[in-house]
Symmetry: C2
């Protein structure tokens, strides 16, 4: 024996979590062994609870407590403006800016030919189905500014522009508060390309 | 709202685990949202299970499925030889050597005055209570070779040597397979101090 069966089982289950290697799983399991039982039960209950209560919004595929998420239900959100993101967490990032009043659509990933992720693995079909019924006029493709995100944006632009819908992408450029000296050449190049005339 | 209540609750519970910051907790929570429900339930059940089934051995404070752990129950283990470790995981490390046939005692930590851990926070009282009834003749203090571990070893030696029990400490020295060039001076110094005559 190394550990008892229940400890071994817990280490194994924890090891399935992303970014948790065998050593971390062991450390977490021993932490759980040490904490008071109510704390451990609360963690277990939170896991079960999230699976029982949380589902995906059937319209935008954000996480949701019901068939439609809070953004899709909110009457004040502009249905003609749609922001496409890779992950529900990206919605939080966009919301934090306070500058977007439209609705969202979560793709649940980005196109990645090497990883075997094509448009059919993403919520693209569901996105297309929304455009006409909701009267979407502009699509802001807020996928990550990396290879996969750019490929996904390009793909969506080619697909959706012909429908007469404006497809836009957030500007690339220097991060506010950043240091020119430390900007990589691609970012600085994009920033220069996208330069804007200063007003007065 | 940022996330729904159940998601927020799960992020919070995961954030209590050691080494899991707010971003990791979010990542783990979203992973749990994505995995099939049976997998999530299995993880939750493993947490509850470990708390229900696993307890501490009442003799050596190793993790155990019953009042006494497998090592304390094994008749072939020599009760006169006791190996003192900081953590149940250290038992696995000692067992892996295949060179120890005695019993164990888990302190559950090491003396750390800065962290406010004194002997009374450790299973020292329980260790002292075992020495006479079990007829212990040698104590191998296998605490970590760091400041806290050394302080603990020193403390135990001063306490237990007067009882006529040999208190030993594993040798410090060069790791087998290591490189002399990369050895730190303290380790190399200890290795030279502890040099052993070669036998033909």
């Amino acid at each position: 024996m190394i550990y008892s069966q229940s400890v071994q089982a817990l280490i194994e289950e924890l090891g399935h979590l992303p970014g948790i290697g065998p050593k971390s799983a062991q450390r977490l399991a021993f932490h759980i062994l040490r904490i008071p039982e109510p704390d451990a039960r609360r963690l277990a209950a939170a896991i079960v609870d999230v699976k029982e209560r949380t589902t995906w919004c059937t319209r935008c595929w954000n996480i949701s407590d019901g068939p439609l998420c809070d953004f899709c239900l909110a009457p004040e959100r502009d249905p003609t403006l749609l922001c496409v993101v890779e992950d529900p967490r990206d919605i939080v990032a966009v919301e934090r800016t306070g500058g977007f009043s439209g609705r969202y659509h979560v793709l649940h990933g980005a196109i990645d030919p090497i990883g075997g992720i094509g448009p059919e693995q993403l919520r693209v079909k569901e996105l297309l189905a929304r455009l006409e019924p909701e009267g979407v006029t502009e699509l802001i493709v807020c996928t990550n500014p990396n290879l996969e995100g750019e490929a996904t944006a390009m793909y969506l632009a080619r697909l959706i522009r012909p429908l007469g819908i404006t497809v836009s992408r957030p500007a690339s450029g220097l991060p506010v508060g950043g240091d020119l000296e430390y900007a990589d050449e691609v970012t600085l190049g994009r920033a220069l390309e996208g330069r804007r005339a200063m007003e007065a």
